[in-house]
């Protein structure tokens, strides 16, 4: 199991479109992937969970991956956060 904190830098936070991208990305890995924020932990493969996390710009979420491809998964997800979910702002 590996875990890492990442900051949310895009303007709108984990909104519907960003969440959709994250779900697609996470769905491509076999590992279990969870996001947590302020004691709440959700499945990164469920858009409902991600939306309900209410993660806004400036917050820090913790990503935890567990499974055979956990390393790759973590790197990929970190990258998505860093590139602001490929949004212009």
């Amino acid at each position: 199991m590996i875990e890492k904190d990442v900051a949310i830098v895009n303007r709108l936070g984990l909104h519907a479109r960003a969440a959709a991208k994250l779900v697609h990305l996470a769905g491509g890995f076999r590992s279990q992937i969870r996001l947590s924020l302020e004691g709440q932990s959700v499945d990164a493969k469920s858009i409902l969970g991600i939306l309900m996390l209410g993660a806004a710009q400036g917050m820090t979420v913790s990503i935890r991956c567990e499974g055979e491809d956990e390393g790759e998964a973590l790197v990929a997800i970190e990258e998505l956060f860093a590139c602001r979910f490929e949004e212009s702002s």
């Binding site: 959709a20 779900v23 469920s46 858009i47 939306l51 309900m52 209410g54 806004a56």
Partner: protein, 598 residues
Amino acid sequence: MSGQREQVLTGLGVSYGISIGRAVCVENHLEEVFRLPLPAHSIDAEVARYHEASELTIRELTQVKMGELPGDMEDGLQEEIGGILEAHILLLKDPSLVGRVTARIRGEHVNAEWAVHRTTAELAEQFEAIEDDYLRGRGQDLHDVGTYLLRALQGISHHELSEVEGDIILVADDLPPGEAVRLGRHRVVGFAIGSGGRTSHTTIIARSLKVPAVGGLASVTQLVTDEDPVIVDGGAGTVILHPTAETLEKYARLRQAQDAHDLEQQETRHLPSVTLDGTQISLMANIDLPEEIHDAANYGAQGVGLYRSEFLYIEQSPKLPTEEQHLRTYTLLAREIAPNPVIIRTYDLGGRKLARELMNTREENPVLGLRGIRLTMARREMFRTQIRALFRAAYHHDVRVMLPLVTSVDEVREFRVFAQEIAAELSQEGIAHNPSLKIGIMIEVPCAAIIADLLAREVDFFSVGTNDLLQYSLAVDRNNEHVAHLYQPLHPAILRMLRFILESARQAGIEVGMCGEMAGDPRLVPLLLGLGLRRLSMSPRLVPEVKACVRSLSLPELEQLAVTCGSLATAEEVDGYLDRFLKQTASMTEESPLEVLS
């Protein structure tokens, strides 16, 4: 839920009678979502129905997403819309959402619509706790998904109340009239409504269907769970939740006694409606639904004083009734109650009475807006159908037309020109009709009352609509608890208006009746007759009691009563005087052998 304690809710009894049944809650914020309990054997099929709806929705959204978006749309916007659709598709597929919905169907044995509606609503509510404004607004995505699913489910095969077994007590915060009519058709034996006063449409419909109803039950939908046993006592204005076995038994007995009394009352239908001194008083019926004509006949009404034709429209809205449908209905009414007259009021739509699809207007204050005769003249094509049918029905029967919300002589003249056009059209087409169809008006706005003498020269009859006349004259919304005590039928201003209206009609030699609630109140009947009214129209069920009252009264005394009441300064003084008069009459009748109706 048998373990729960009996609970008595007190509201406003709006339709008489006692009924015992099981609750069905109606939620009407989304398009018709009912919570329908399902038998165990159909649960699997229901879950499958949900999956089917979900897959259908996903396919449709995918098609939309793949399809071309309007060409001039910016790339950024295209991408954004595509992203939102994608998010919605993911939500529909989300195992957590799917799991919650199916668990609800299986756990609560309910229909998929309800499970979807409640689940998405609950989830959307949880978004309210999110701090960030933008993300909190994402609860909307859940609502959207819920709406897609409901639409798909309803297309796949719609649950109807007819699938529920046993007698139904409909529990709702509010019911739009179209819904109430539609639902009333099923085995609905009672209504328990959160909002609604005595003149609300649910009330009117409940009465017409002879179904007991209690309104004004705040948050009733939160207190009741589906299939709870419920007693509705429309006479007492109470609703009893989780009644004990004893209570159930007591109410079953009460209901029997009421039924017996009701039959007894119907027996009086052949007695003439005359005062002790031999004056004929014509007691007519107010009806909403054609079926009620049988009640009118059974309770001894001498004609229909008010047929609220908008219900023809409401029942099948948004489709408009055809000329033949109008004609059939009017002929049916007239035939059943012949040779007595049937007064058809043209659609009284607008105001708070739905018909948004017809009006297509956004009005700040619709009660003072495009409604009644104003709507008739503004939407002539729609009314042409109705007026044609009226001319035709009047050829064989005593059918008359009455216009609502008239405020000026101009409106009457304008309508007459319109009616003449229609009559000419019928002549040209060679269709049998009565060119001298009687045209009357409602006197229900103070300005019409004040120019009653001018209006009387232009029309064939008046009918005083006291419900609106009182509200407008006294500037009181009777459903508003803060001012309801100011709704005073005996206010000197009202008595003066009535006197003037009656006098104007008498001088012009036209007929005048009253079709508001005052007309059916036995306590007020002596005063109304004293003022000179000879025609009263009321809910059919009230006819026997009012007739009994008429038969116990002697006109000369009543005229004196009206004169005295007219000289008093406040509603309270009039009320007190009337009270003393009634007590005196009652003590006299007790000794009198003329009490025929006991």
